[in-house]
Symmetry: C2
């Protein structure tokens, strides 16, 4: 009993103790890497940049940067996106943190991956040289660092989340046809869907607002245009309580 109390006492730490622990050797560099998905020409794309590290010269990498000392993680992710794409009104979500000791060749760098979806047409890139490029999802192979693993994890998570939340609409124009919507889902999930059942499902959800407009410049019968009713979606509170694996 006495020993227990002594042990307990010894475990109590003051600021000073923590600070000295923290300021000793236990510090790592922290970065954020953004996996930015876009959609164009009926294909899902990811935005990559040429690696800025000599060792990986010529290879593609994610958009990343070190986190500033007085900057939160989300904040850092938004800053990096803004710096690279010029935009900040977008969906951004933490995916996973990668912290293998040897993942960065120059130093211990732990990185927090964030995932973002942007509409390529709305969000024209500020930098358009060959340093920054939209890649087809299925053409992504070798990448710098462990960025391929980060990309794979992010893509899997995107596929999972897009089935459960209305994320996809941020990749489309404000007004879109059901064909575009279906193409998007087919591209992200990499599956074929029955057109009639797809329509039925989305109409049944009742979150599509008919814009009473039709497509233009299509070489066939134009489809009606819709927008997603985010307000109505936010108010809806249906959650699934099933168990299935």
């Amino acid at each position: 009993m006495e020993e227990t109390m002594t042990a307990a006492k010894n475990r109590i730490k003051t600021f000073k103790t923590i600070q000295s622990e923290v300021e000793s050797t236990n510090r790592v560099a922290l970065s954020v890497d953004c996996v930015i998905f876009g959609f164009d020409e009926n294909k899902l794309k990811v935005l990559l940049i040429r690696s800025d590290l000599k060792q990986y010269q010529g290879q593609w990498s994610l958009l990343g940067d070190l986190v500033e000392p007085n900057e939160g993680l989300d904040e850092a992710a938004y800053r990096i996106l803004k710096q690279r794409t010029g935009l900040n009104d977008l969906f951004l979500e933490q995916v996973h943190t990668f912290g293998e000791v040897e993942r960065h060749p120059a130093s211990r760098v732990v990185t927090v991956a964030y995932c973002s979806l942007i509409n390529i047409q709305h969000h024209k890139l500020k930098i358009l040289d060959n340093e920054l490029h939209w890649h087809d999802i299925d053409s992504v192979s070798e990448m710098a660092f462990d960025h391929k693993e980060i990309f794979d994890t992010s893509y899997s998570q995107l596929q999972k989340r897009v089935r459960e939340h209305p994320l996809g609409f941020s990749l489309l124009p404000n007004k879109f046809s059901l064909r575009e919507l279906q193409n998007l889902y087919e591209a992200i999930l990499n599956i074929k869907l029955d057109r009639r059942n797809f329509r039925k499902k989305f109409f049944a959800m009742d979150f599509l607002i008919d814009m009473d407009e039709v497509e233009t410049d299509v070489p066939h019968r134009p489809g009606r245009l819709y927008r997603f009713d985010y307000a109505k979606y936010e108010k809806s509170t249906k959650k699934w309580n099933g168990i299935a694996f």
Copy 2:
């Protein structure tokens, strides 16, 4: 064009550049916090310890520690769990990383949350003084640091994951009755389930192996005992391709 190439050239960095960037000011302390869930007396529990920081004396906190310089994140999480509970044959998964600038009062500390499920009966704790304690899930309120937020996030994720993956079985004895299984799901999801439909669902999944044994020491008709067929589950490849939100 010439400017573009110059810009590109300037962006290429050697190890040395990176190292100097990293070794300057851009370093943070990194910790891992473990949210350890257990199940006992038909209640879901979480393992907490008294805060070791003077400012939070008396408050409960998660099991955490700084990540060592030559230690991966997963590795650190397993080490901490082993140190605190004496065990290592358990399920452990990264949940989320919390990096608000002011989340730790003494210094900038970014923490990676991990979530774990253990069978309280199988995994007796090594330390049993009042520093370490199993709390009922619904009695968790104020906690040190931002640990309440970390706990909430982990608990939500647990609820989500337990519906999609057979995690719950690690909280039960190897042989369990369907009543125990249902109690577990009801405790984790905090809902009531229809007993007959619950049985139907699990028998239909066909992952339960009938042990041809029955409960003992129950003051009523004993139920049959089952174990989960992990091998069969691993081989099964049904995945849901629905879209619903």
